[in-house]
């Protein structure tokens, strides 16, 4: 095992590493034992605290009203966000200043504003009472935020297509809209797919924000379960586990797509917010 930081260890280093491994293992085991003991001590491991998660009725509620609604919200908002992103991403590349600047301002604004602030504003202004309700407040908020991020992804993806492609297309007499829709966008999609899928992970995680306005989804179902059974700890563990499984599945798909369609090239660099020129990278946070 050679790395940038250290050489292949010799016998003395190996002995030292074994010692550290043992110490670290004991430390980690101790930490886990402490958590387990605390849970046992406060009665969190009792059967009645976990009962809803082995009762078929509650499992159905958890999966249908919780996970399915959450996935639904994420999928809907990603679909809308893709449309939003294409429009504003292409708009940001326009040669017309009157089109480019408003698109730039909209994208920057929604990327810099906290999603929860946006969702709360949408809900209390348009969603509450006779409005469209908390479900759509979350979907619209997610659409605006993820759409702005995707606009940046699309712009970077289109710019990542080798310039010779557009030049060749212009040379055989295509118009600007044809160059974009026939030549650039199809090639850009291939480059962007992993970024788009990792944005899906972000959208899926952010559906949990509906908790603040009592929108349906996993966190809402979790809340009603722990108010009924007073089993906050097990519920939090189960909800987190469901999110982790869903996200790891999506990440797995992203890795597969990356390998299948993009190959070993560098992941797309998307500039961070408040940053028009210099490169940054997407973190999926």
């Amino acid at each position: 095992m050679s790395s940038i930081l250290f050489d292949v260890p010799g016998p003395r280093a190996r002995a030292r590493q074994r010692l550290y491994s043992v110490i670290a293992s004991i430390g980690l085991a101790g930490l886990l034992a402490l958590i387990g003991w605390r849970m046992y001590d406060t009665g969190q491991l009792a059967y009645d605290k976990w009962e809803p998660f082995v009762t078929p009725d509650y499992i159905v509620v958890l999966l249908l009203d919780g996970l399915l609604k959450t996935l639904q919200m994420a999928v809907l908002s990603i679909i809308f966000a893709t449309v939003f992103g294409v429009i504003f991403g292409v708009g940001k590349l326009s040669e017309q200043g009157w089109l480019r600047w408003p698109c730039w301002a909209v994208v920057e604004f929604f990327r810099a504003v906290p999603l929860l602030l946006l969702i709360i504003f949408i809900f209390y202004s348009y969603g509450i009472g006779d409005g469209f309700g908390s479900y759509w407040s979350v979907v619209i908020g997610l659409t605006l935020y993820n759409g702005a991020v995707l606009a940046e992804v699309f712009r970077a993806g289109i710019l990542a297509v080798p310039p010779g492609q557009a030049e060749a297309a212009y040379a055989i007499g295509m118009r600007k809209s044809q160059v974009m829709s026939i030549v650039l966008l199809p090639q850009a999609v291939k480059i962007m797919l992993p970024s788009i899928i990792s944005q899906c992970v972000v959208a899926l995680k952010d559906t949990s924000l509906g908790y603040a306005i009592l929108a349906p989804g996993l966190t809402f179902v979790g809340k009603s379960i722990y108010t009924e059974f007073a089993n906050q700890v097990p519920t939090a563990i189960v909800v987190a586990a469901l999110y982790i499984v869903a996200n790891l599945t999506l990440t797995g798909i992203a890795t597969w797509v990356q390998r299948r369609y993009v190959g070993e090239r560098k992941p797309l660099e998307v500039p961070m917010v408040g940053d028009a020129a210099a490169g940054g990278s997407q973190t999926g946070i």
Partner: protein, 218 residues
């Protein structure tokens, strides 16, 4: 009925709310830098157990929504007899979540330094400490700045989740104003949104300053 006039009148409330947002950001930002660097060290270090533990930590916290982390810290942990003041709990939740992303930023920074650099520094006779100090870390640190800035910008925005758990920071104050108000909701929203935009731009400017200051010919 509140209106934009109330914000103008009670601008002290708005400023205090943003002060709390900034405090959350600074405390959680520093703490997550420390925890994130430790995690990154564990992940790239030679001890397999620690590397595995670091990987598991990052996988768990990168795939759990921050809101669920908040539920853990604010609602589940008190049931285990672990309870702290609200501000501390907010910082803990933000820190353990952000540290996973800080760790990844540092790890990718260290990995971006090519193997030949360390080999060359050993070939000219530098010790491990010297090669780290003069060759590896300076390059890694420069590569870390842009992704780390993105993480910190996300942290600024993520402090808003504390609003759902009873901390009176900016987002919770906006909810307070829009709750009572029927007319100027858009203006109130824009006031708070611009506050966030300013903080985000400051972080972004800071990272550009660092990049420029540390720029070297490569």
């Amino acid at each position: 009925m509140a209106s934009i006039d109330d914000i103008v009148q009670d601008y002290g409330i708005v400023l205090r709310a943003f002060l709390l947002t900034i405090e959350l950001f600074l405390v959680a930002g520093l703490a997550s830098l420390v925890l994130g660097v430790l995690l990154a060290a564990a992940r790239v270090g030679p001890i397999p157990v620690l590397a595995k533990a670091g990987t598991v930590y990052v996988a768990i916290f990168r795939n759990t929504p921050l809101l669920v982390v908040f539920i853990f810290v604010f609602i589940a942990m008190p049931r285990l007899g672990v309870n702290y003041p609200f501000f501390a709990k907010g910082c803990i939740a933000l820190t353990v979540y952000t540290a996973a992303f800080v760790c990844e930023a540092f790890r990718s920074g260290i990995n971006s330094v090519s193997l030949g650099q360390a080999e060359a520094s050993r070939a000219v006779g530098l010790t491990f400490g010297q090669s780290m100090q003069h060759v590896v870390l300076p390059q890694a640190l420069r590569a870390v700045v842009p992704p780390l800035a993105s993480v910190m910008i996300a942290l600024v925005k993520n402090t808003s989740i504390a609003a759902a758990f009873g901390l009176a920071e900016a987002t919770s104050r906006m909810r307070f104003f829009t709750n009572n108000n029927a007319d100027d909701r858009m203006l109130i929203f824009l006031t708070f949104a611009i506050g966030y935009v300013i903080i985000v731009e400051l972080v972004s400017l800071g990272s550009h300053g660092l990049e420029r200051r540390w720029r070297v010919a490569r």
